[in-house]
């Protein structure tokens, strides 16, 4: 695992220029900084509509220090596939990364995502998941957890949640992993491992958003960490047929070592309306998900 001392050389490097349009405490900026560290700021990025289209600020300036194409909602995997091929013809071998939100991945752009995964295009796709359409005003998306408040689910979301990373494994792609902005070393390792493989690579990055989830700006990292410590978010990695639980999540295989889920829920205003029964349902979902992942580690050995 990469260590913070290795990252010290980026200490004064502005991988994203400060002074962006993001809200204070934005998780996406953390994720993008780690991505740039992982790839040593040598990659091209494709970004569909979402917060990340707004974050770099106003033309003719941008906060991003790598080449970025801003593209319409549903097109990013298709654009990236073409860009990768064009770069290869020109003899450039750097990675092409799609940086997309949950709306662009799980809902609006799902068809082109599925298409490029099934063609095994040589791109890295990062789903930075803040669990709703934040940029347009907190509407529920396919990855919003059940019972969470959004402006389109004022009494709590009634539908379930699309499990994007498992759906991607079923596309038979070589690399799929989950990550969290609270565990940058794990995320950086995964990006580097993905970059060393050819074909379609998918990383699902958990990104708690202060205004959308209704918690104070300074709790972004705390909430993300609690998601892992309570078992709500499981860090795992599927690499060419083998699925393993990643080291930060290993202790939480044992249910007894997980923190109470209430600790995660109570920090977030979007869950403030939950009843005791709702919390029990969420707990049952967590146990079910762990069962599934542990079984998958036995299948994909």
């Amino acid at each position: 695992m990469v260590t913070i001392n290795e990252l010290h050389r980026y200490g004064r490097t502005k991988l994203i220029m400060p002074g962006t349009s993001a809200c204070p405490g934005c998780p996406l900026q953390l994720g993008m900084r780690y991505l740039a560290m992982a790839l040593d700021a040598r990659f091209a990025m494709v970004i569909p509509a979402g917060c990340s289209s707004v974050i770099p600020g106003a033309a003719p300036y941008t906060a991003f220090t790598v080449p970025v194409m801003h593209v319409p909602f549903a097109s990013s995997p298709a654009v990236a596939s073409g860009l990768r091929r064009a770069l290869r013809i020109r003899g450039v071998d750097g990675p092409v990364v799609v940086w997309a939100g949950d709306g662009a991945s799980a809902d609006i752009g799902f068809a082109s995502l599925s298409g490029s995964a099934y063609r095994n295009e040589d791109i890295i796709y990062i789903l930075a998941d803040n669990e709703a359409y934040m940029n347009t005003g907190i509407q529920a998306s396919g990855t919003t957890p059940p019972k969470a408040w959004t402006t389109t689910s004022p009494r709590g979301k009634t539908e379930g949640r699309k499990d994007m990373s498992l759906i991607m494994i079923m596309h038979n792609v070589p690399y799929v992993a989950t990550a969290s902005i609270a565990y940058p070393m794990d995320f950086i390792d995964k990006v580097r491992r993905a970059a060393s493989i050819r074909g379609f690579r998918f990383i699902h990055l958990h990104a708690p958003c202060p205004p959308g989830w209704k918690f104070p700006d300074n709790y972004t990292v705390r909430v993300a960490r609690l998601a892992v410590e309570t078992g709500m978010w499981i860090l795992w990695e599927y690499n060419q047929g083998k699925l393993t639980i990643s080291s930060p999540s290993v202790p939480y295989k044992d249910k007894g070592r997980r923190k109470p889920i209430e600790e995660y829920l109570k920090l977030q205003g979007r869950f403030s309306h939950l009843t005791k029964e709702d919390v029990e349902v969420i707990k049952a979902n967590v146990d079910k998900q762990w069962d599934l992942i542990i079984r998958l580690t036995e299948i994909y050995r």
Binding site: I4, L7, R12, M17, Y61
Partner: protein, 92 residues
């Protein structure tokens, strides 16, 4: 400015610059103040600052760029030794 704008028209390209979203330091309600004596130079505040507003210098001390720090307070929340205090702006 004029040369950049003409290039922009020609290539429809934006160029990297600090403050592309404005002088975001003006958004700040609370200012992070680092107590250098208490700081153990671990770099965690630098690692977790979303804004890239903290420099982790060669001697491993940290400094905040108040022109752009938005005052989110994450640095203070992640500091393992409580060396970052959030002080209401205007009080200093």
């Amino acid at each position: 400015m004029s040369s950049v704008s003409s290039k922009y028209v020609k290539y429809i390209l934006s160029r990297p610059m600090a403050g592309a979203g404005g002088k975001t330091g003006t958004w700040r309600v609370h200012r992070p103040v680092i107590n250098a004596e208490r700081c153990i130079k671990c770099g965690l505040c630098w690692l977790y600052c979303p804004e890239n507003a903290i420099d982790w210098l060669e001697n491993k001390t940290v400094t905040v760029d108040y022109d752009y720090c938005k005052g989110c307070g994450i640095c203070s929340d992640v500091c393992p030794v409580g060396a970052v205090t959030m002080v209401k702006e205007g009080v200093i």
